[in-house]
């Protein structure tokens, strides 16, 4: 292994390179189908965050930050939160806070829950940004404590 190369072995790197996009797709699926399957914003958001945490583990912190920077994580979480409040406030203008202003749709179909898919997307963004940001922040502490620990 080269001296300044970070992260784990080539096997882990190759596998995670292959798997990452599929995992991201699965996370998106879980988020978007939250209203008809068992899942939703939180579960899908965790899956999507795990993709970037996998990259962080396989390629080291720099590799992960290249694909998803810290400020991007903050902005992702912020957009999700703002979206959540906006949806709630649109419902508020229509009569009740968090009111479902889109109507019920067709049961067991994709459009079956009115505003809930949008809430799921918002929560998914929040969880993705927050969880990834937290792990990055904690590894930041770690690399401050053990500056030589990353050079393996």
């Amino acid at each position: 292994m080269k001296k300044n190369e970070r992260g784990m072995t080539i096997i882990v790197k190759t596998v995670s390179r292959l798997v990452a996009r599929i995992m991201l797709l699965f996370g998106l699926y879980v988020v978007l189908h939250g209203q008809v399957t068992h899942g939703g914003g939180f579960a899908g958001g965790v899956v999507m965050a795990l993709v970037f945490i996998l990259i962080l583990m396989a390629f080291g912190k720099d590799g992960a930050l290249k694909s998803f920077s810290r400020s991007a994580a903050v902005i992702t979480a912020g957009i999700g939160l703002i979206l959540l409040v906006i949806i709630a406030l649109i419902g508020y203008v229509r009569g009740h806070f968090f009111a479902n202003f889109l109507g019920p749709g067709w049961p067991f179909e994709f459009w079956s829950a009115g505003v809930i898919p949008f809430l799921n997307v918002a929560i998914g963004l929040v969880v993705l940004g927050c969880l990834y940001g937290i792990i990055v922040a904690l590894t930041h502490f770690h690399s401050e404590l053990h500056p030589e620990g990353h050079k393996q």
Partner: protein, 499 residues
């Protein structure tokens, strides 16, 4: 139209916090403007809400338009709007103060995000009618507060933050267990419905166990004496605006308000419970006053003083007589304003001189005239000197204790009051009177926004006694005390929403 107002008390601070989280770290000045404007705007709203509940009694909003057996309610009665006015009045002054104070820390936008999240959590606790929402909002507020206690990230701040976090989580888990027991017994989470079912089913051992869990959990949140260990560490270690918020508002809305809302309005008081609360209140009074005597750290002394004053509030409210509840609520108001003011002035002294040790201060009122006189006003209000509000509230509590036949407790309260006067005046003399030390010759008075907020709070301290005038008393104090006095009426006034 006005009953639609109440969800906004949670939504607007949260929206502001999210806006700052999204944009604040880039745009300079935006966090300060948003963070100061939101509490001021909500203060105006809370006055409107107070007038509304005075006219109509209660206000209910159905979240998402779902009716009660399924849906979650947000609502308010006289006690809620009373607390909302206190919370936003003090929070507005604190936010104005913080705009200058927080400049000495790095990344002030994080401070404003967490400040607004605390505000949203407190408003949620105050306006919710649902047990589980109460728990969630309480955890939101305490986690944000825990992070803000450790905001300085120095040794003591971190230690105090860790202690606060551990104790508060344990308290919250006790509350969760209590909620689970009540849910198992009644299959409901709505407070009014639970109150109805408990009244019809009669007493049970499960409810007693749940009551004990609530007592421990909210006792930890309100820092009543056997559970007070976190308070004297956490309150001094936080930045001064957060100390003011913690001491003035958080222990009251998360601890005392929730405790009495649940015990009086939902479960119902029993004589044994009254005696336990009276004893805990009296114990807090004495312990806090005695421990405050020997303190050298200005903010730590104030934290112990908070412990003692919380004892007064709980004692007054637990008496259960009209006079006692009136005194307890009035003391809650006076202590919120006065103790926030004292913490802010302690913060001003730390801001200008960089020390909290009382022995190193002296004669500071010559260099810091506004801080000195504001601090004196706060100390006189807390310790109960006649023209100030605190005198009347303590007097009412002591009269109520005598009237209810607890003469021993009344004497104890008077003794604790004398101790309060002694230690606060000693601190004032050490800090602001006497000869000016050489090293403080160059000290400058604090910036104008800090001065304005301190003067405002001092003015409220001075004129607080006017709230006992018959015209204002009916509007502000009486409608709150009516709720606690007719606790058993809670379910019937809030019920009837079932379709």
């Amino acid at each position: 139209m006005t009953e639609k107002l109440f969800p906004l008390f949670v939504a607007i601070p949260l929206a502001g916090a999210f806006l700052i989280a999204l944009l604040g770290w880039k745009k300079k000045g935006l966090p300060e403007i948003v963070g100061a404007l939101i509490p001021c705007g909500l203060f105006a709203y809370s006055i409107k809400a107070l007038l509304f509940t005075f006219k109509n009694g209660i206000a209910v909003h159905h979240l998402g338009g779902w009716l009660p057996p399924v849906g979650i309610l947000i609502g308010a009665d006289g006690l809620t709007t009373f607390m909302l006015v206190i919370v936003h009045g003090v929070a507005a002054c604190v936010a104005l103060y913080a705009t200058d104070y927080i400049k000495k820390y790095t990344s002030p936008w994080i401070f404003y995000v967490l400040f607004l999240v605390i505000l949203a959590g407190m408003n949620g606790v105050l306006t919710t009618c649902d047990f589980f929402n109460l728990f969630v909002f309480m955890e939101i507020a305490s986690l944000a507060a825990c992070t803000l206690v450790a905001f300085g990230t120095e040794r003591h701040e971190l230690e105090a933050g860790f202690k606060y976090g551990v104790m508060n989580t344990i308290g919250a888990l006790f509350i969760l267990l209590g909620i689970a027991l009540l849910y198992g017994y009644t299959s409901e989470l709505n407070m009014a419905d639970i109150s109805n079912i408990l009244a019809s089913k009669g007493p049970s051992r499960l409810v007693t166990l749940a009551t004990i869990f609530f007592l421990v959990g909210f006792g930890l949140k309100a820092a009543l004496v056997p559970f007070h260990a976190w308070l004297p560490d956490a309150h001094p270690s936080a930045p001064a605006p957060i100390s003011a918020l913690l001491s003035g508002l958080i222990i009251k809305s998360l601890g005392i308000y929730s405790l009495f809302r649940i015990l009086v309005c939902v479960i119902g008081m029993t004589p044994l419970l009254t005696n336990i609360l009276l004893f805990m209140g009296a114990l807090s009074m004495g312990t806090g006053a005695v421990l405050a005597m020997g303190q050298k750290d200005f903010k730590r002394l104030l934290a112990y003083s908070s412990l003692s004053q919380v004892g007064y509030i709980v004692f007054g409210l637990a008496l259960g007589t009209p006079l006692g509840i009136l005194g307890g609520l009035f003391h809650m108001f006076n202590h919120s304003v006065g103790k926030s003011l004292l913490f802010l002035t302690a913060g001003s002294v730390e801001y200008t001189t960089g020390t909290r040790n009382l022995d190193e201060m002296g004669g500071l009122s010559r260099r810091l005239p506004v801080t000195g006189s504001a601090s004196l006003a706060g100390a006189m209000s807390i310790s109960g000197i006649p023209p100030f509000g605190g005198f009347f509230s303590k007097l009412i509590i002591i009269f109520a204790a005598v009237q209810a036949g607890h003469v021993g407790y009344a004497i104890w309260a008077v003794a604790a009051g004398i101790l309060t006067l002694f230690y606060l005046m000693k601190a004032m003399r050490q800090a602001f009177q006497g000869p000016l030390l050489e090293k403080w010759k160059m000290v400058q008075e604090v910036p104008w926004r800090m001065r304005v907020s301190m003067i405002t709070l001092a003015f409220i301290c001075l004129t607080g006694g006017l709230l006992l005038l018959p015209q204002l008393k009916g509007l502000f104090l009486n409608q709150a005390s009516k709720v606690l006095l007719n606790g058993a009426m809670y379910s019937s006034t809030w019920g009837g929403f079932k379709p």
